[in-house]
Structure formats: structure tokens, C-alpha cells
Amino acid sequence: MEKSGSVDSVESLCSSTTTRSDRSSGTRVSDTELRSKGRAIEKVLQCKYTSKGELPLLPEELVQDSAKDVTYICPFIGPVRGSLTVTNYRLFFRCTDREPVFGLDLPLGVLSRVEKIGAATSRGDVSYGLVCKDMRNLRFVHKEPEDSLKKSVFEVLMKFAFPVSNNMSLFAFEYKQVFPENGWRVYDPLAEYKRQGLAKESWRITKVNDHYELCDSYPAALVVPVTITDEELRRVSSFRAKGRIPVLSWIHPESQAAVVRASQPMVGQNGRRCKEDEKLLQAIMDANAQSHKMFIFDARPSVNAAANKMKGGGYESEDAYQNAELVFLDIHNIHVMRESLRKLKEVVYPKIEDSHWLSNLESTHWLEHIKLILAGALRIADKVESGKTSVVVHCSDGWDRTPQLTSLALIMLDSHYRTIRGFQILLEKEWLSFGHRFQQRVGHGDKNHTDADRSPIFLQFIDCVWQMTRQFPAAFEFNEYFLITILDQLYSCLFGTFLCNSEQQRLKEEVPKHTVSLWSFVNSQLEEFVNPLYVHYPSHVLFPTVGIRHLQLWVTYYIRWNPRMRPQEPVHQCYKELLAKRAELQKRVEELQREAANRTASSSSERAGSPTRSITPVQTYV
């Protein structure tokens, strides 16, 4: 399927759609197809071979095995025969008997499961199913090798797809590409807190966690109120789940209202209290002179929070924290989210049932979860911006729902995080340094696909960001491709950025030393990721509308494998062309201006009557 985008492409739409619907009378123009729009992600089913037909391998990428005569059962165009190659990084499938050449190129990291389906047929064919983390399932049919000692290509595939389970290292540790920029230097916590304008009289950067002794899932640099000593922090850490004490995440440059993150207090059934924890929260409130109140946002549904008391957890009681108001945000746990995404995958892949599309989508509750997360972040942002009150955000452990909420609220509040580099800093800070358990949630290189710790928490966050970019097309410096790239590289294990569970682990594994950062790759080709519509309004706080009516399914991500979801010509493509046109015209006008100025200077006597007016250049906003 080629990308259509010309002015006359409505014709091509019609003709190609009908041709298809003629072939298989069941297919129709679907609702989503009508609504789908967005950027072309060229990777769809296409694989770029070099002119000689060789595989374009990455540095240190080695072919491990290959097989001819493999059949890929494509859910859209039917069985395709071709050859399959497995490297230590990816899977290539190439079919040559079709025009245009059809290919599949996917990093092994996206595989969550590879399995043999059924027994061999009479012809000796065996079927393999590949379940991917990026919303697709692939199916291949292949003859078993007659020599039973020889491994099938799929056995080789399983070995390299799950290196962690096979005691091998992830490809990120082999990959040695050099980029002009070093992405590991993007985030410097001290510089970031300085940028926020941390008031020294109320906040300090403590070294209490320098060796990750206070909390092994927190970063080394923590910001706490000046009035609290390190000793007190240690006491607080024994009262908060996993030692994740309340620390500053962001501070409002004017009102000094703070966004603070933590984990749940270990209240338990007996209603345990901790004097130091109460003092810490009071100090956080006192650091903001504008308000004599503070809000504690517990991301969980109140029932879940109460149930946590049985396990020793819980939430802040009003008796203990007198000036704080506790609000539950009703966001469900990782298991509910995983189930919702599983349902969503069923609804969108491979076939979409047109007649019940909307109710099927509704039954996945995916958009409802997105809405609750966005709504929670909106309430936090509103309290900080409009109410000038400080807020504490936590869930149970403070590493899933909490980073979702804080980072979304920060994007709404601080336009810096809407730039490409600012967004990288946000991820490095709120997600990576504060210990979102990427290794567990994604299961990098691990074959245990049923692991209950896996959950699409980060995907949900990126989806929420995408929803905001839809509502405020000019407020973000990055485009949709940037977000999709982040998600693709999250699974690919090509870069070290999303490996491990915490800052401490990354240091121990020397990830920055042995791997390349995703930001090295991104920042070396920024133009790919720039939203041409971006306007930098420094103090523009975004208050998105979070109603279901304004949320859309991210079709260009979730349904991108369906060739019928061809991306439409995006507005910003057109805008880019116009920008180029403007630059070109601007240049010509300037040339003519100079020319005219010269001419007037040389023949001023002849043209005494017409003074040259200086022309102010048209302003460039971008």
C-alpha cells in the first residue's frame, strides 16, 4: 500500500478501496478508516533492502540463521512465501514473488511470545505464532528440518528473542553506533532543579540517597524541605512503601506551589502514624506561602486504597494530616490496564468489525482509563496553577500511576516539557530516575510472557500525551512520529535508555557506558521529530478537555499494521512545504531588495522621486 496524499488522492482511495472490497466481499470502508489521520509511519510492512538485496545490518548485528520457503500468513493479503532471516537483533522476512517487494522487519525485542501452534501436518509443515508487544501477531508456516539435529530457524529465533532468559545480553550492549550527540548527558538533575528556580530558603538537595541506601528505587539527588534533616528522612523512609519518601518533583516558578511524589504510607490496619512524615508534609505545605492547605492525590480508587491497609499500606488519615485534603483519582492498577490493552488488541487486530466498532472499543475501557489518568493530571495541574496549593501524589508504590500523573501534570504546567529536549528530561526524571520498573513492565528479553508484572503503563502515558497533542496542535515541539519512535524503541532493546528498573540498577550494569542512549539517536536527527506547527508560548498552561467525546483512539499507533488504515496526508506535512516555500520566497525578496537598493544607489538621480522603503521581513515564528 502506498501512501496517498496528493490532491487527487480521493480517486485513488476510492479505486483501491473498491478493488479490495471486490476481492474479498467482506471488507468495507470502516469507520476508523474514515476517521484515521496522522503521520505516515513508513515502516508498515516495508523493509528497505540495499540495492544489492542485502540486509542492511546495524553495527555488530550478525545473521544467525535463515530459511527459505517460509510462508507468512498475512491477515490482510493472505499467505506470502519468502525467506526468513534471524539476526541477533531482528527478524527479516522477505517475499520476492510479489510486486512491490513485500517485507517484514521487526526487532526481536517486540516479541513477547513465540510458540509452535499445533503439530506438524502431513507435509511436515509447522506453524509458528509470534505475539508482539506492539499490537500485532504474526504467523509463519515452515517445514521442519528433516535432520532432527538441526535447529529450525524458529528455535534460533526463540533464543535470540529472549536473551535474558537464555543468559545472553541484550543487543543494546552490543550495538556500538556512534552519534554526534551523547544522549546520556540530556538530563542533569541539578541543572533541572536550578531551571525550575528552586528557592534555597525552603528547599534543599539532599545527599541522603547518594548510595541508594535510603531508597534503592529512587534517584541519588532528592529535593526536600530545608527544615527536615536527613535523619528524619530516614525515619520517613521506613514509613513509606519501598522507602519512597515524599520528594519534590516540580515547583511553580511564581507561586512556589510544589508537586511532590511519594508512595503510600504504611498505615496498616492499626492506623500507624509517623511523626516525621507528618512533619515533612507540613514542611512541604509551609514552603508555599500562598496556601495554608495542601492536597494529597491518591491515584487509586478509594476501595483499593482501603484494601491496601490489610497489606500494611493505606492512605493518609485526616487526623494525622490536618491541613491536607485527600482525593482519590480512581485510576486502576496495572492488571486492569493490561487486561484493557489485551481487549483493545482483540478489537483492532487483525480485523475490525465495522458494525460494532464503537461499542467494541467502548467495551475495552481503554479510552476510559486514558480519560481518568488525564482527568487526574488535570486536577493536579489545576490545584497547582489555579489554586496555588502544593500537592502530594502517590499510588501504592509510587512508580506506575504516580509518574503518569506527575509527568502529565508537569506537561500541562510547564511548557519546557513540551519541547523535544524538555520531554526527554521529563522521561529521564519522572520515569527513569524515579524508578518506573521498565524491565518488569515491558519484560525486555524475557520469555515469561505471562508475568503479572507486565503492564502498558508507559504506553498509556504516551497515549495521554498524544491526546493532548491532538487538542493543542501548536503547543508541542515534537510530532507524533517522535512519540511512536519512543514506543518502538522502548521494545526494540536497541538503546539502553529503557533498560533496567531503576537508576541504581542502570549504574550497576553500567548501562550508560555500554549502550547508546535513545536520545543520542533522536537528537542527532531532530528535524524528523519537529512539529512545524509549534509555537512557543512560555507561560501557556494547558487544560485539556478530558471528556470521552474529545478522546480518540490513537489509530496511527494501534491500528498502524492494518494496510487499510493508510495514513492520510497530515496537515503538518503541508505546513512543512509551505514553510519551505516561505523561506524560498523570503530569500528571493531579499535578493531583489538588495538589487533594488543597489540600483537606487547607482541611479538615485534618475529616480529621485521614489524613495526606497525598507521592508520589514515577515516575521518567522518557527
Binding site: W357, V571, R607
Partner: protein, 641 residues
């Protein structure tokens, strides 16, 4: 006239910025509350001290003013201005609180003391003094007025007047007949935003034989000719005087066949695909005995017109598409869920209730059917006959969609208007009945045209750059059905229109707010819902940037032209007739003004149109603790100064 240009005081001058546009001069405060009347418009009744309800819960935001009923609209005149009334975008014929009478769907009077309620029709009596008047509008607005301080008699009178005048007994009583405003059509020198008056591009009305000749030539349908047998509407009252038929059919034959067709509607040629395959629309043949013979003749004539003599494909629309009652039922359900109160409780079920309204399904069915017809024309290269019993509803939609998909000309502004003129107006779509302007026969009411506009919106949404017009244009076009100044959407057929020739034929409905370049039709369906608004967001912000950029390119081109032409010195930076709605700032080094008046509802204002609060809010405001501070402080408050 309006412009997105905002001249801000600079440090150099503390004087107010110079008014660059004389039309934009600040309006002097009006001393008396007077309705702004159009030529020919008269005030029928009015009541003072009326309150327009803004919020359902409290009356603190309510507006005080005078409620006026004219022979054209219901007008509410007030001194109070709403917050966030920043956008300088006004409708040419209607004020912000105006509702054309034709747009009023239902007039409900309430006396909450006595607990009485009555739906008013024309010439009715009211036994109680109303304390409240609720107007349900066809464009999904619900507007409430309170008469607590108004005189009971005058309140009653104005309600009765509104009820009476919104139920005209005769099309002659529609305001279009009284309106003596200037004729827009063809008037030269009239500068209308978005349109180049001298550009030679105009909407073709297809009311004379030369228009059809030109269309035949444009499309290259040399095997087709203009037929004049219906001149004076002697053959069929619902057909246009001129239409196009195959060359091989003689007038004599056509006259003979006419009587076999439903309402004597001889098959109409719509368009030819570039391959030579014709698109023809045909009504049912009433006489079954003649059916085969007549159909045979018509089909073979069409086949003869085809370069490859391909056989005709007949597409039975009645069998494959929803009927007009289905469409009406779907719209009623859609309206229910779009304005349902309370808005946020319906949140969770939004998608499935949208699905159960079947509106989207119908939109898809129509689009899919059109795609199938295109496939026959383009890939199979066969002529297509659209069969519909009366040939006045479904075929209008399908023939237009097919042409929009295949013919880029139809995607230009004038091409699109010409298309509507050809396939809807001239082909005799019963606008009067379908809009139910006379509110006489509810069974005939059906939003076929709105459904068509939604289909176009879907195409536009997929290919925004393929269309010369924008989403707002489509919305305004839909609204103009309820502004009975335009003869276009006022009558059932060309003959009726011709007989009522006193009504001016104007087509520039499109000139209220036209965006030149491009851009669940959220805008149409949810624009009045304050909760559904995105402040400072929505696609409009992207469009704003595009407009400005396009305008800048225009300026640069102009400069280049001037350099080339005058040999050196450009004289004005900004060309007089910028096509863009939002214009580039000619003041350099001014930070880009954040378009704070923009929201996803732009240019429509949801304030006071559903009697709901949350001007600045979102559904969240409801369950927020201390909702008072909700978005009202700081950032947004500053904008309302």
C-alpha cells in the same frame, strides 16, 4: 468584516492602537435596547426585563435584556456582555443571541408556580402566564428565557408571537419574501471574505441552458445534449427547465417516456467520468408493463453514449440505503446524546450510544455506496444509473459524493456550490418538506442534506488539503438551511422556486465566515456544549497557524510581483484582499499573540446556548472540590478583561 489581526499597544505608544479597518471601529454603547433589523424585517412583539439563562443551576451569570420577536428571528438584546467574548467574528445576518424563526423546532412555555407546561403552535391560546420560555432549535441549541421580572401580559404575548411566527402557514410567510436586502449574487465590487470577486469563478446556478452547455463542455460529455422540453415546467414540475439527456434520444421520445416515470421525471444526467462512463439518476417507472421497454430504451441510449458501448449498471438506492425516516430517527437520537443533560453522566456510554444512534453507520453506508459507484465508473468503466423511487433524496447524496470523490473541480468552493445547485436544488430535493419549514408534516422531515454534509466532512477529514473549504464552511452551510433568506434551501423544486421569484436568489450564504485554504463532526454536533470545548485548543489553532503562514507567503509573492512590475519599490506591505481569515501581523518582532479567543468551538460560542454553566470549564468542574477556582483564576481570568 473581521480580522485576526490584533494591534497591541507597544512601549512606544501608550495611545490606543490605530484602527486599521474602518469597519472595525469600536461600537458606541447603544443607549436603548434596539433590535438590529434587516431590510424588510419588522418587530412583531417584544418584552422587557427578560432574563436569558446561562446556567441551569444558578442565575448569577444570567443576562438581562429585551426579548424581541420579528418576522425573521427571535432576538435577545442585552447590554451585558459575556465573558470571553473575544473573538471578533460576527455573523452577517444574525447577532449572537439571535435565532432565526425557521430554526426553532419547538416552543415550550412553562409556569413553574402552577407546574404547567405547554408546547405552543401557531394561533394558540395560553391559559397561564408563562414564567419561562424554552426554545428547542434545529441546530441542537436549547435556549431558556425567564420572565420573573417581565410583565405577565407582555411575556405571554411575546411567547405566542414566537410560536405563531415560527409556524408559518404558507411558504409566502417565510421571511425570504420580505427581505429586501441587497443581492449578493453577481454584485461586483462587493468584497466578501475569502472570495475573489473578479476571479471569474462563480457558482453555476444551472437555471439556463448555457450553464448546462458549459458543464457538458467542462466534463467533455460530447454524447450528451441539453434538453429544453421542460421549459415552462410543462412536462414535470419537479424537474428543472433544462437538463441533459443522451444525444441519441429525441425530444419526441422523451416526451413519450415522461409519463411512465414517477412524477414525469425523465432520467437526469449528472456527470461523466473521464473514461466516458456517465452517471445518471432515474426515478421508478410507475407502469410495470412499460417498465422493461422504457428502461431498455434509456439504458441503450446511455450505452450508446459510452465510448466502449458498455452496458449500464443499475444501482438501486432504495434497497441499499436507509430511507428518509431512518435518517430522521438517527438524527433525533444523535441530538439526544449530543445535548443530553447531564453531559458528563453520558460519558461512559458515549461511544456505544453514538453507535446505537446509527447516524455514523448511515454516513458510512452512504460513503461506501458512493465508493462502489465510483468503482463501477472508474475501474469497471461502465455507466451507472442511480435508481430511487422519487429520485429526490438518496440520489442527491450519492451523485454528489461520487462527483466529489472523482472530480477535483467539485472540491473547490465554487465547484462545490455548483454541485449542490445541480444535484440538490435543480434536481428538486424537497428542501421545504425535508426542513419542515412550515412544521406541517413531521413525517416528511429528514436531514438528508445534513447527512450529506457529514459525509463530505468525513472526506474532508481524510483529505483536508483536497478541499478548498473548511469544516466551518460546512457547518455554516448546514446552518443556512435554517436561515430562510436564501431561496436555495427554501423550496421543494425549481418550479416552486421560479414561481416565487420575488425571493432573491442569493448563493453567497457561504460568505459569513469563509476560511479560504483548507481545513464526528465535533464542530457541528458539539459546538454548543460548553463542557466539550477546548480552550485555546482544537484544530483551529493549527488552522490559525496555517492561515497566517499562507498569508505571509501571499505577502511575499506580492512583494515579488511588485518588484518585478514596478521595477523596485513595493508600496504596500499587505495586499488589500488577503484571502485568509487570520492574517499575518505586519508588525515585526511582536511576539506571536497567543490566540486566546480560539477554542475548539470557534467561531461559535457555546455560552448560553444550552443553559449550562462551565463557560470555561470542563466536565471535571462538577466533581472538583472547591470548583469555584476551577480555571477561573489567573490565566483565564486575565483574558476576559
Amino acid at each position: 468584516m473581521f480580522s485576526g489581526k490584533q494591534t497591541k499597544p507597544t512601549f512606544k505608544s501608550y495611545l490606543p492602537p490605530l484602527q486599521t479597518d474602518s469597519k472595525k471601529s469600536p461600537q458606541l454603547p447603544i443607549k436603548k435596547l434596539e433590535a438590529k433589523l434587516l431590510p424588510g424585517e419588522i418587530v412583531v412583539n417584544e418584552a422587557n426585563f427578560v432574563r436569558k439563562c446561562i446556567s441551569a443551576e444558578s442565575c448569577q451569570d444570567d443576562l438581562w435584556g429585551k426579548l424581541v420577536c420579528t418576522n425573521f428571528k427571535v432576538s435577545f438584546i442585552t447590554h451585558n456582555s459575556l465573558p470571553r467574548q473575544r473573538f471578533q467574528c460576527t455573523h452577517r445576518l444574525l447577532g449572537e443571541h439571535d435565532i432565526p424563526l425557521a430554526c426553532v423546532e419547538q416552543v415550550v412555555t412553562v409556569n413553574d408556580v402552577k407546574g404547567k407546561q405547554k408546547i405552543l403552535g401557531s394561533n394558540q391560546k395560553l391559559k397561564f402566564n408563562p414564567t419561562e420560555l424554552i426554545l428547542y432549535c434545529k441546530d441542537f441549541r436549547i435556549i431558556r428565557f425567564r420572565f420573573d421580572e417581565a410583565g405577565p401580559e407582555s411575556a405571554k404575548k411575546v411567547c405566542l408571537a414566537i410560536a405563531h411566527y415560527s409556524h408559518p402557514a404558507d411558504p409566502q410567510l417565510l421571511f425570504g419574501f420580505e427581505y429586501v436586502g441587497k443581492r449578493y449574487h453577481g454584485s461586483t465590487g462587493e468584497r466578501v471574505s475569502g472570495i475573489d470577486p473578479g476571479g471569474g469563478m462563480q457558482t453555476t446556478l444551472f437555471d439556463c441552458s448555457s450553464d448546462w452547455d458549459r458543464e457538458i463542455k467542462r466534463i467533455g460529455a460530447s454524447e450528451w445534449r441539453v434538453c429544453t422540453i421542460n421549459q415552462g415546467y410543462f412536462i414535470s414540475p419537479s424537474l428543472p427547465e433544462f437538463f441533459v439527456v443522451p444525444v441519441s434520444l429525441a425530444d419526441q421520445d422523451l416526451k413519450q417516456y415522461a409519463c411512465f416515470f414517477y412524477s414525469q421525471r425523465i432520467p437526469l444526467w449528472c456527470w461523466n467520468h473521464s473514461s466516458g462512463s456517465a452517471l445518471v439518476r432515474m426515478s421508478n417507472i410507475s407502469d410495470p408493463q412499460q417498465q422493461r421497454k422504457v428502461e431498455q430504451r434509456i439504458s441503450s441510449a446511455i450505452t450508446k453514449s459510452h465510448p466502449l458501448r458498455s452496458d449500464v449498471f443499475k444501482s438501486d438506492l432504495d434497497k441499499n440505503l436507509p430511507n428518509i425516516q431512518d435518517i430522521q430517527a438517527a438524527l433525533l437520537k444523535l441530538r439526544q446524546i449530543c445535548v443530553i443533560d447531564p453531559f458528563e453522566e453520558s460519558e461512559e456510554k458515549w461511544l456505544s450510544s453514538l453507535e446505537s444512534s446509527r447516524w455514523m453507520e448511515y454516513v458510512r453506508t452512504f460513503l461506501r455506496h458512493a465508493v462502489e459507484v465510483v468503482y463501477m465508473l472508474e475501474s469497471r468503466n461502465v455507466p451507472v444509473i442511480l435508481l430511487e423511487k422519487e429520485d429526490r433524496d438518496l440520489s442527491c447524496v450519492i451523485s454528489c459524493l461520487v462527483q466529489l470523490m472523482c472530480d477535483p473541480h467539485c472540491r473547490s468552493l465554487h465547484g462545490f456550490q455548483s454541485l449542490i445547485q445541480k444535484e440538490w436544488v435543480m434536481a428538486g430535493h424537497r428542501f421545504l418538506d425535508r426542513c419542515n419549514h412550515l412544521k406541517k408534516n413531521d413525517k416528511e422531515e429528514s436531514p438528508v442534506f445534513l447527512l450529506f454534509l457529514d459525509c463530505v466532512w468525513q472526506l474532508w477529514n481524510q483529505y483536508p488539503a483536497a478541499f478548498e473549504f473548511t469544516e466551518v464552511y460546512l457547518t455554516v452551510l448546514g446552518d443556512s438551511m435554517w436561515v430562510p433568506i436564501f431561496s436555495t434551501f427554501l423550496f421543494n423544486c425549481p418550479r416552486q422556486r421560479a414561481e416565487n421569484s420575488r425571493v432573491i436568489v442569493i448563493y453567497q450564504i457561504t460568505h459569513f465566515y469563509v476560511f479560504f485554504f483548507f481545513f464526528t463532526s465535533l464542530l457541528y454536533f458539539l459546538r454548543w456544549v460548553p463542557e466539550a470545548q477546548i480552550p485555546q485548543g482544537g484544530p483551529i489553532t493549527a488552522f490559525h497557524k496555517l492561515s497566517v503562514l499562507t498569508d505571509e507567503i501571499d505577502m511575499l509573492l506580492n512583494q515579488l510581483r511588485q518588484y518585478k512590475g514596478a521595477g523596485g519599490t513595493p508600496n504596500s506591505l499587505h495586499a488589500e484582499h488577503s484571502k485568509m481569515y487570520f492574517k499575518a501581523t505586519s508588525t515585526p518582532h511582536q511576539p506571536p499573540a497567543p490566540p486566546e479567543y480560539l477554542s475548539s468551538s470557534f467561531p461559535f460560542s457555546p455560552v448560553g446556548n444550552l443553559c449550562r454553566p462551565g463557560i470555561l470549564g470542563s466536565p471535571l468542574s462538577k466533581f472538583l472540590n472547591g470548583a469555584k477556582i476551577w480555571l477561573s483564576t489567573e490565566t483565564l481570568a486575565n483574558e476576559t478583561i
